[in-house]
């Protein structure tokens, strides 16, 4: 008979920091680390820097668009801004920060000492990091700093043949290709690591049906990474061959096809956004139960729904292409698959509601962000359904309605879930609590800013304003809406500044957290905060989905009911 032993840690000891080591050793410790916790923090830190940079790029665009025929930046600079903003936010903010949290939390949650391939983990991080640096070098390379240099200006999806050498002269597009190609290899490595870790490194007793939902969702994310990054890599290699070896893949003058680039890109691009949202779902599935004081409602259905979503997400890609002139049968198919994916997604929303129903909801900052997520993700999903109805899409696509929709998902959904995750796991990572008071300021400022910007952004879309335009005509009735949208940016910036201040000041003077400040139920809360390098002195043995619940409630353990 096996035994479960969770060694208790003192609740009053301050977190151990290696301030005793000389500076050089501390830095090289971080650079050469293969510890999943440190790599997780590196990913998160890297992403936060790029969040600020991407935010500045967005701010520049919004100031240019605050009124018609504005001259804040030239069209060339504006076009570089929207390209870099999109590329940065997706590849160098969202993916790294989510991978960082997954890296940190998954081994702890499954009772493992590290990921399956720690060195591959480090390689993956550094590839991603170098990819971002190469992309940003484009500002300096190419035409130099005057006029903001040679950053790519082809849009984050780089449609052919705008990327052909004849239309994209110079090297700006090449920075886009190579930066993403390199970080793509890092992403695939990370995906391989996630899958292998979850499948092979679970502690005894943790069968697939007993893993936390967080782990399930990130397993599915890992599979999507493997399936989605390939098409992008392949398309980018093809584009490099066109640009450097005289190839004709996308050369429409030689029989090549502009539309096949779109197909390849969106075969990557759509699963990519599910790679972004699945970890956000994972955060929700851990935080909502803890702050409702109930287990997740319908665990098996949640697992099934997640797998369904991942599966269907591979078949919806051409809903980004409803306007390219596919046949009516083609369009109808993609309407069907897009509508179908709404069903498991809706089921997840209902299950989170079901988790809150009948509970005792605690309105700490992580939960505030989660409740806002539910409200906003609902709206984002509904505008997605509108966009999925192809004829309606023929009006809405390529307009600010789409921009509003996807920012609703990414900012209103993913970023809010990320903030929840920050407040929830920061105590575990650093040993100190983030300030609740500052957190509430962060929440309300950002909420107001988000809604000012992205609620009202839908309207210019409905009034015919296309996206990716550096200025607009004053006679279209778009002026007031653009003004309100830009004002919202100020509130969001204020919220983010409060957040960054909170992170820094709480790291030094925050209230001590102890092992388990939230009275939670998954294995990471059984370790000290921060956990020791080896995570667990003795590998735990679990019997249910909430091992700490079983320990805290030995008279009524979960394994009696699961």
């Amino acid at each position: 008979m096996g035994e479960a032993e969770l060694i208790p840690r003192s609740l009053t000891a301050a977190p151990v920091r290696d301030a005793a080591l000389p500076f050089f050793d501390r830095v090289s410790g971080w650079i050469t680390t293969v510890d999943h916790k440190r790599l997780g923090i590196l990913y998160i830190g890297y992403a936060l820097v790029f969040l600020v940079i991407g935010g500045i790029e967005a701010t520049i665009m919004r100031i240019q668009l605050i009124r018609p025929h504005n001259h804040f930046v030239s069209p060339e600079v504006f076009n570089q801004m929207f390209t870099m903003h999109g590329t940065t936010m997706i590849f160098f903010v969202a993916m790294p920060v989510l991978f960082g949290f997954i890296n940190y939390a998954v081994p702890l949650m499954i009772g493992a000492r590290d990921m399956a391939f720690p060195r591959l983990n480090a390689w993956g991080f550094w590839m991603t990091a170098f990819g971002g640096i190469i992309l940003y070098f484009s500002f300096l390379g190419g035409s130099g700093l005057y006029g903001a240099g040679g950053a790519p200006d082809v849009g984050w999806f780089a449609y052919a043949p705008l990327t052909a050498p004849v239309f994209s002269v110079g090297h700006s597009t090449d920075y886009w290709i190579i930066g993403l190609l390199i970080s793509g290899f890092g992403s695939v490595a990370t995906g391989i690591n996630f899958i292998t870790t979850v499948l092979c490194m679970r502690c005894p007793g943790m069968t697939l049906g007993k893993m936390p939902l967080f782990v399930w969702l990130n397993l599915v994310t890992g599979v999507l990474v493997l399936l989605a990054m390939g098409p992008l890599t392949a398309a980018q290699i093809m584009l490099l061959i066109d640009r450097y070896l005289g190839g004709h893949f996308f050369d429409t003058q030689a029989g090549g096809s502009a539309i096949i680039w779109m197909h390849f890109f969106w075969v990557f691009g759509h699963p990519e956004v599910y790679i972004l949202i699945m970890p956000a779902f994972a955060f929700l599935s851990e935080i909502v139960p803890v702050f409702s004081r109930k287990p997740i409602f319908g665990y098996p259905i949640m697992v099934a729904a997640s797998i369904c979503i991942a599966f269907i997400s591979m078949s919806v890609w051409a809903h980004h292409m409803f306007t390219v002139g596919m046949t009516s049968w083609g369009n109808a198919f993609f309407v069907a698959s897009t509508a179908a994916i709404a069903v498991p997604t809706g089921i997840k929303i209902f299950n989170w509601l079901g988790t809150m129903w009948g509970g005792k909801i605690v309105f700490k900052v992580p939960m505030l962000f989660c409740i806002a997520f539910l409200f906003q993700f609902l709206i984002a999903g509904l505008t997605g359904i509108m966009l999925g109805a192809a004829p309606f899409n023929w009006q809405l696509s390529g307009s600010y309605f789409v921009v509003a929709h996807f920012h609703y998902v990414i900012v209103g959904g993913i970023l809010f879930a990320l903030f929840a995750g920050f407040y929830y796991w920061f105590p575990k990572m650093s040993g100190r609590m983030l300030s609740e008071k500052l957190g509430k300021w962060h929440f309300w400022l950002f909420l107001i800013g988000f809604h000012l910007t992205f609620d009202f952004m839908h309207i210019p879309g409905l009034l015919g304003m296309p996206r990716r335009i550096y200025t607009y005509e004053p006679d279209r009735g778009w002026d007031i809406w653009n003004l309100i949208v830009t004002i919202g940016v100020a509130f969001q910036a204020a919220g983010v500044l409060v957040f960054v201040y909170n992170l820094i000041s709480s790291y030094f003077t925050g209230e001590l957290a102890g092992n388990d400040p939230w009275d939670a139920w998954t294995l990471e809360w059984s370790t000290s905060s921060p956990p020791p390098d080896y995570n667990f002195a003795k590998i735990p043995v679990v019997r249910s989905r909430r091992p700490l619940w079983d320990l805290k409630h030995p008279e009524d353990p979960d394994w009696k009911y699961e």
């Binding site: 008979m1 096996g2 035994e3 479960a4 032993e5 969770l6 060694i7 208790p8 399956a116 391939f117 695939v188 995906g191 391989i192 690591n193 899958i195 292998t196 499948l199 092979c200 490194m201 679970r202 005894p204 007793g205 943790m206 069968t207 697939l208 890992g222 493997l226 399936l227 989605a228 990054m229 390939g230 098409p231 890599t233 392949a234 398309a235 290699i237 093809m238 061959i241 066109d242 070896l245 005289g246 190839g247 004709h248 893949f249 050369d251 030689a254 029989g255 090549g256 096809s257 096949i260 390849f264 075969v267 043995v541 019997r543 079983d550 320990l551 030995p554």
Partner: protein, 198 residues
Amino acid sequence: MAATTISVPQPEIPLSPQMRGRVGMWSLITAESTIFSIFVVMYLYSAGKSVSGPTPREVLDVPYFISICLFSSSFTIVMAERAIVRGMIKLFSIWWLMTILLGAIFILGTAREWYELIYRDGVTISSSLFGTTFYSLVGLHAFHVLVGLTGLSIILALTVLGYVKQEHAERIGVFSMYWHFVDVVWVVVLSVVYFIAR
């Protein structure tokens, strides 16, 4: 809070840490397969759409010999695996060497085919859409064969130097999975380029 213990029945673990190598390699193969699939789709989509240059039918001959060599190398690598599992390092290194030789013949044969295509038929990667899709697809595969050959050679060198022992059989097995994958990709590429879309 004192340490508490719970007695639980001994649980089964379907996949253990020992399986990491195989699971990781399967994951890598999945990711690589998606890249190859896109190049194959591109090849099929572009078939017949070149605006100039010779057609595949005019310039391509089915490479029977080198294909048989490559497929045989999958057989020899299996024999090598079986040798090392039984601890017969010398036999293992012989089969391993044969695998390398067969792979090298494949690469040399491909090089010869390309030489003819470029200098006799004028088909290059930039001469037509067919040239672009042909060289990129076949070239991507050949690149993977080269990577495999490099790995095989390194392992052979380590074997000759005496570092490879019976306990490394699992790792040899994981590496062989990659070689088999390269072979399976050739089945697809051969069918598509030399039969279906000719």
